[in-house]
Amino acid sequence: MAITATVNGKPAEFTGEPDTPLLWALREELGLTGTKFGCGIAACGACSVHVGGEVVRSCSLPISEVAGKAVTTIEGLKAADGTLHAVQQAWIDIQVPQCGYCQSGQIMAAVALIKQSAKPSHAQIDEAMTNLCRCGTYPRIREAILKATGQAAEKSAAAATGAA
């Protein structure tokens, strides 16, 4: 009766009812709490993960639909040796997160975008990055995506003069 899938490269088994959203199966059954509950209606994107390489909002995807598929969460982005994904590293370099609650989802959305287009344009970033952030980290999210893809960031922060 259990549903099996691959989560972060390892076999996983979900024992909940088939209509259980992937979000809650990840968080409560597998203890992968990096994926967040934000709205439950696929509006905010805090629960974004990859299923079969595509970014999905896991709060609205029942586990019955991930049977046999490969799921990647924020915990699975690091390389085997612990090296951060280029997007995660850019997030640190640009100091993107504030409260941080939406950032797992933002990073998963950004990683999926970069898989599709190695050097996304501003318009592509606008289109792909629809996850909500209440702290207002959007300018730095944009900057970090440009940095992670080796594009000279139009550095908004450059205008920030110090206390001098």
Binding site: F37, G40, C99, G100, G136, A160, T161, G162
Partner: protein
């Protein structure tokens, strides 16, 4: 009259409490307990706020919460600065919620402002807590750096450094005056000897500390003014940061709640059976105002809750709606006296309105509690851990000493998480007492949006007289809202006659804090109206503002710099407008210039934003920039599309579908933040970036379209 009386009462309380505030340190026994709770043998604990271990690790205990402002890192910079510490050995921890770690620095800071009549922006309920000297640990009022940082971290760092020097002088048998400090060492250059802080700390901490040690001059800063990477960010990019939502305990159950749709309503009845028939559901618990379903997991609890048909009363508010509130407020405002028409000049009046607003933190409420053998252990994220502990104790009917509260990382707050109006605190305590397991109570987003503690709805009537010379002769406003916002209803302009009259209107909602509190609505009202007045006087809105600002003052400098950097006056394409606004909030002056046009659907599109900020000294420029950008974007988001409305006494909005937040594509593609250090007393940064955004946008849209928007949210109101 109301203001005078309130100031008098607070003033009296300040005098009575003078002994309490005379020292920045907690009283002896509470401080000893705080040190005992955090300092191990061999370590040195300085006033409890700073601890130095034998291996030189310096731990800074923060009484305020870092929910993304970067305050923990900045507080560590301030402690390290005065301590002359090695930055690589610094770490920060949230101070435990015990009285010895109450935020005496915040109390002292606010009391100082109150006693000087500078109680601007301090909500009445907070003023009351401060005046009564209740031990608090709250994070609010953009106060972490200016109060906890200035009053606790820098002074403790400086006092600890002097104690370390005194201890080293004794050990090296040299005069203290021959000793210097750097990188966590006390150095005697003459004899080429040095002692590490870790070697000295335990003994140095036993010395009496100076209560008011001298602080460094800005020119000598090595840490303050730098932008080291924030401590909390690595855990927020790999999913390891533990938020209140993420608590997991053996045998833990998950619960979710449905509250009476109308605030003050009660649970009348509910048939529990349909929920208990759902697999995984274990309990249905009736509370005074809500029904709670406890299950193995959240999904099962949600399904159980959805199966119920509870009956609630409406608390007598069934006739209340946003429209009825505005109608009542307009009536109150109309009672204000008319402003005399200036001879030979112009009289201008306008009515403005702002809706209830929701803080919309990204993490819905979640608290976990375990009640066992008369003791309660609880986990969650609130904006005052110490007060939360007391509130949990009261709700569970036990002593505070029998409550352990673990403060978790918070996914946003913006004023929503002050425990006094977080019903989840009482709910989780009540539920925990009725089940044998630890239980995590999660509010769905629907409950979170519709049972908020909102920024109050306000209507205002503004009147002004322009003299024959085109200068402002008089300004009067009548505004109706819950809570007196008079201090936020002021303007920085020199006007011969100025009056802001509050008409108390009480709805069934709580008068809650919002990022920048009442400066958000009143900044919109006043900075839109001054723009109207400029146009009425036939003047450029920037020039009109500057003509009414004191020469050589901070406001004028900020305004001028914003106009210069935004290239005020340079031509823009047809259909694009440029607007400016200037506000002061929590001691910080901010001017913002927005360039905007309308999208095809009539909604505003913001093209460019420039912010200039005078908050005095900037501790961490990169964080400071993030805070101003964040405030500006939140201000735009609220201005463009956010609104909480009431119908039949209940909140209409339920989730992000009908409470839309600004998305990345809608945020300004070009945004720049600039700081001016005027040398003024340090101001706040978390909130002051928000208030100018809405009026600067509305003013830009007026230029772009000729339409003046006087009611928020703007939506497509500027469309022809």
């Amino acid at each position: 009259m109301g203001v005078k009386r309130r100031n008098f009462l607070i003033g009296a309380a300040v005098v009575a409490g003078a002994g309490v505030f005379g020292s920045i340190w907690a009283d002896g026994s509470a401080r000893s307990k705080a040190i005992a709770a955090t300092v191990k043998p061999g370590e040195g604990g300085f006033n409890a706020w700073i601890k130095i271990a034998p291996d030189d690790t310096v731990t800074v205990y923060s009484p305020t919460i870092d929910f993304g402002q970067g305050s923990h890192t900045a507080l560590a910079q301030m402690a390290a600065e005065e301590l002359d510490a090695d930055w690589t050995k610094i770490r920060v921890e949230q101070a435990p919620p015990i009285p010895g770690f109450a935020n005496s620095g915040l109390v002292r800071g606010f009391v100082g402002e109150l006693s000087q009549g500078l109680s601007r922006h301090l909500p009445q309920s907070l003023a009351s807590l401060v005046a009564r000297s209740v031990p608090i640990q709250l994070t609010g009022g953009s106060s972490s750096i200016r109060f906890a940082g200035q009053n606790l971290m820098r002074k403790t760092g400086a006092a600890a450094r002097l104690a370390l020097i005194a201890e080293a002088a004794e050990r090296l048998a040299v005069p203290a005056a021959e000793l210097t400090t750097a990188y966590s060492k006390v150095i005697h250059a003459k004899s080429a000897r040095s002692l590490r802080y870790g070697e000295l700390a335990a003994a140095a901490a036993g010395r009496s500390l100076e209560a008011d040690p001298p602080l460094k001059a800005e020119k000598d800063f090595r840490h303050i003014g730098q932008s080291p990477a924030r401590f909390d960010i690595p855990g927020k990019v790999d999913g390891t940061a533990q938020f209140g939502m993420d608590v997991a305990l053996p045998e833990m159950r998950v619960a979710t709640v449905m509250m009476a749709p109308v605030r003050d309503g009660k649970l009348l009845s509910v048939d529990e059976k349909p929920a208990l028939a759902v697999p995984g559901v274990e309990r249905v618990i009736k509370l005074d105002e809500a029904v709670v379903v406890v299950a193995k997991g959240y999904w099962q609890a949600s399904k159980g809750l959805a199966a119920l048909s509870p009956q609630f009363s409406d608390g007598g508010h069934g006739a209340l709606s946003s429209a009825s509130i505005f109608a009542a407020q307009d009536k109150l405002n109309a009672e204000g006296k008319a402003l005399a028409q200036p001879a030979g000049g112009k009289f201008v009046t306008a009515d403005y309105k702002a809706p209830f607003l929701h803080q919309a933190m990204m993490e819905p409420f979640a608290m976990t509690a375990h009640y066992k053998n008369g003791k309660l252990e609880a986990w969650g994220g609130l904006q005052d851990p110490l007060a939360t502990r007391g509130q949990l104790a009261k709700a569970a009917g036990i002593d505070s000493e029998d409550v352990t509260f673990h403060q978790m990382i918070m996914g946003g707050g913006f004023g929503r998480r002050f425990p006094q109006y977080c019903q989840i605190v009482e709910q989780v305590a009540a539920v925990a007492k009725q089940v044998p397991w630890p239980v995590k109570l999660i509010w769905s987003r629907e409950q979170e949006v519709s049972h908020g503690a909102y920024r109050p709805q306000v209507a205002i009537r503004l009147q002004a007289g322009l003299g024959a010379d085109g200068r402002l002769a008089a300004w009067a406003s009548d505004y109706a809202q819950d809570g007196d916002a008079r201090s936020d209803a002021t303007v920085p302009y020199a006007i011969p006659s100025f009056e802001a009259r509050h008409h108390k209107y009480i709805s069934n909602q709580v008068d809650a804090y919002f990022r920048s509190v009442n400066s958000s609505q009143h900044g919109f009202f006043n900075e839109s109206f001054i723009d109207e007045l400029a146009h009425a006087a036939g003047k450029d809105p920037y020039q009109f503002r500057r003509e009414h600002l004191p020469a050589g003052g901070r406001h004028l400098k900020v305004l001028d710099e914003a106009a210069r950097l935004a290239r005020w006056g340079t031509p823009l394409p047809q259909g694009t407008g440029r607007g400016i606004a200037l506000t002061e909030n929590f001691g910080t002056i901010v001017a913002e210039v927005i360039e905007a046009r309308l999208r095809d659907d009539g909604y505003p599109q913001v093209l460019k934003a420039t912010a200039v900020v005078d908050c005095g000294m900037v501790v961490n420029p990169r964080n400071a920039e993030a805070q101003i950008m964040g405030g500006l974007i939140m201000g735009l988001s609220t201005a463009i599309g956010e609104e909480i409305t009431l119908d039949k006494g209940a909140v209409v909005q339920t989730n992000f579908g009908d409470y839309p937040l600004l998305r990345l594509a809608e945020a300004p593609p070009e945004i720049s933040v600039h700081f001016i250090n005027s040398g003024a007393k340090i101001g706040g940064l978390g909130e002051p970036g928000l208030p100018p955004a809405a009026p600067a946008l509305a003013n830009a849209l007026f230029v772009a379209t000729g339409k003046r928007v006087r009611q928020l949210p703007i939506r497509d109101q500027a469309k022809a």
